[in-house]
Symmetry: C2
């Protein structure tokens, strides 16, 4: 039953909101004095209904706040018990996205519509080690093999389940995380939490790609239209309409990056910092011309990030990026230590065919490696969306 | 010179935006399809110009993200050097609030208008120990004496300077903090950082009081109009137009709070959770009737927070609250530990006359103490606002 608080006049598909095609969800914008067109432009203040062909939180625009929580399954949890958790979480996801408290919610007044809340649920590798599930392990789903530049820490890596909550504000996110964690307690306990932020609009409120803490537009090369659908979504058995997710915690050395000249920074990236345009073009979404040269010197350097990550450098391989910036302080040996970076995330139909070969190229040849270090790594299968009355991963765990 | 990106049509005083009087700053709303009235309703997407009688970040509505950074002065810093830092920071504050990079900004593309950014600068107690400044210590400015329920940690307490950055998103905040910290490096280094969030609007985008992680509307008793001005702003010498700030990190035991019945929670607070109305009224801003009784039993219990904190229980003493919710994870002895709470902040003309006596009453008699513990404490003098061409604390540090 539609939430009566959501005015019909403001219900529309979100495809127009961020220029992403293939969207199945339905979105309600907060009632404003503006027109529906103006409402469609906004990224914040939305209500993303949970049901559809795909889960919310993949194609929906990245709002200001994201929190990823990985869980470890308790040893007693089998296929049946995991199915029970997925049924509970499916109800939670639908309620919280619509702004309703979950059953038994201890803080029901914190549930609120119009906060751009979405909850993306994922399954880690060990799920497919459970008795009866080995045959259902999706093709291409695997851990990321060690890379030369990795300095991985166990405390930021792995996990049997993922709940990725996004919203306009961290109080709404904290409430959703608390509900999901409480309801998961008989089945799983938190392994790690990563919080990040994004600035998805320009000064006029128009959706933009957003910038990482190097100041770089991050995600300019994301696919759109039919390419997006083919890049992201699986067509493989129970996972059809779902996807595979890589989460990497990338520490960024802001101190040494800041010491570079702007010209040097742009050559490392292969793009202009202000517009995000490739150094061979004038606008963010211009094609990167890998053949362009001046006096025999390539305009996009051999080790520029934009070259090494480019699909034509990688047999056409692509992924959908949806990063979050983080800053983090730790109390170590009696003093505070600060760090900053990017919660790198990439959606693709197959981790083995897409992320891993591209990451191998970057690990070997990306100039950015001098200022970036992966300190965490995790992979999750993202089940397809679910219809009302159905539940997440029912195709995997249902009878 | 006004920023040309700020349309004159959308420049207006912010007094109408949040119902707070006494505002001196000027605000520009992001251009939208709506009317000026609709823009005036919004809390996000604003541009708060830095100059005025009071610093921004006191009366301006609390946006989604806040980060408080306390600094320790380096031993070599004297009155003259502190004045140099205040001049540098004053330029930074004005630039960043308007969406402009600071001089030498290593990530100029992260500066952006329309992100509701404000930066509030404060001076800690040790500033008035510097040679030549003892006589300028404001009346009533002092550390908070130990309270029975405190469990203070040095790592969340104290500080010689404060920079409190507020904005709609943490990426904009992180950029401002990085610039302020970099420019402060010759004079001061960070002592602690506290990050928090607030949800300042309802589902329709209208400004509301906002809720803490207990689900409680937090700040309902804030003063308004002339009472607000008299409560908050000093009339004392160089500090006239400035104020005094208390920052307390209050850990909240969500697990045991969640176990209470809703009825019990409401009796502890003395207010209804959904509307925030006192148990003797029907709306959030109804007067709390401390005399009301049913069958001889007070409706607002003797130890209810709303009674013990009430001005009539405290010889009329008031303060202006502007809290932020936090959640925090720490890696301790090989595992993650989670905590949550409130970055409690209170502005008043005199800490000695306002915060301290009220806090003594709460420490002795507030039922909420069972679920809350102060783990950090700091106090700062908040200099008055500054005009273009002038600088922060010039009345204290200028020749």
């Amino acid at each position: 039953m539609p939430d009566p608080r959501l005015s019909r006049r403001h219900v529309f598909g979100y495809a127009g909101a961020a220029g992403l095609g293939g969207a199945a969800g339905v979105v309600a914008g907060r009632a404003t004095a503006g027109s529906d067109d103006a409402a469609a432009q906004r990224v914040g203040g939305r209500t993303y209904l949970a049901h559809g062909d795909h889960q919310s939180g993949i194609l929906t625009p990245t709002p200001a706040v994201g929190e990823l929580v990985a869980f470890d399954l308790l040893p007693s949890v089998d296929r049946t018990a995991l199915g029970r958790l997925m049924r509970v979480w499916s109800g939670d996801v639908a309620a919280l996205a619509a702004g309703r408290p979950v059953p038994g919610d201890a803080a029901p007044d914190l549930a609120q519509a119009g906060v751009s809340l979405s909850i993306l649920i994922g399954l880690g590798p060990r799920v497919f080690d459970l008795p009866g599930l080995a045959a259902a392990r999706p093709t291409g789903f695997q851990e990321i093999p060690p890379m030369a530049h990795d300095r991985l820490e166990d405390r930021w890596s792995g996990g049997d389940l993922l709940a990725w909550v996004s919203a306009d504000d961290a109080t709404s996110v904290a409430h959703a995380v608390r509900r999901l964690t409480t309801d998961a307690a008989p089945f799983a306990r938190p392994r790690w939490t990563q919080r990040g932020s994004w600035r998805p609009v320009d000064a006029d409120g128009n959706p933009v790609t957003g910038r990482n803490l190097f100041g770089q537009l991050d995600g300019s090369a994301n696919p759109s239209g039919e390419t997006l659908t083919a890049t992201v979504f699986s067509t493989d058995g129970w996972l059809a309409g779902g996807t595979q997710l890589v989460v990497r915690r990338i520490e960024m050395n802001l101190a040494t990056w800041d010491e570079l000249t702007r010209d040097r920074q742009e050559r490392v990236i292969g793009r202009a910092l202000d517009t995000g345009a490739p150094l061979t073009g004038t606008a963010e979404h211009d094609d990167v011309d890998l053949t362009a040269a001046v006096d025999g010197v390539p305009v996009i350097a051999a080790d520029a990030h934009a070259r090494v990550a480019h699909p034509s450098h990688n047999s056409g391989r692509r992924m959908l990026r949806r990063g979050l910036n983080y800053t983090h302080e730790e109390w170590i040996d009696g003093s505070w230590t600060s760090s900053a970076g990017l919660i790198f995330t990439a959606f693709q139909a197959s981790i083995a065919d897409q992320f891993i070969p591209v990451q191998r190229m970057l690990d070997q040849g990306d100039a950015l490696n001098e200022w970036t270090t992966a300190i965490g790594s995790a992979v999750f299968v993202i089940p397809p969306g679910f219809a009302e009355g159905a539940w997440l991963a029912q195709g995997l765990l249902g009878d």
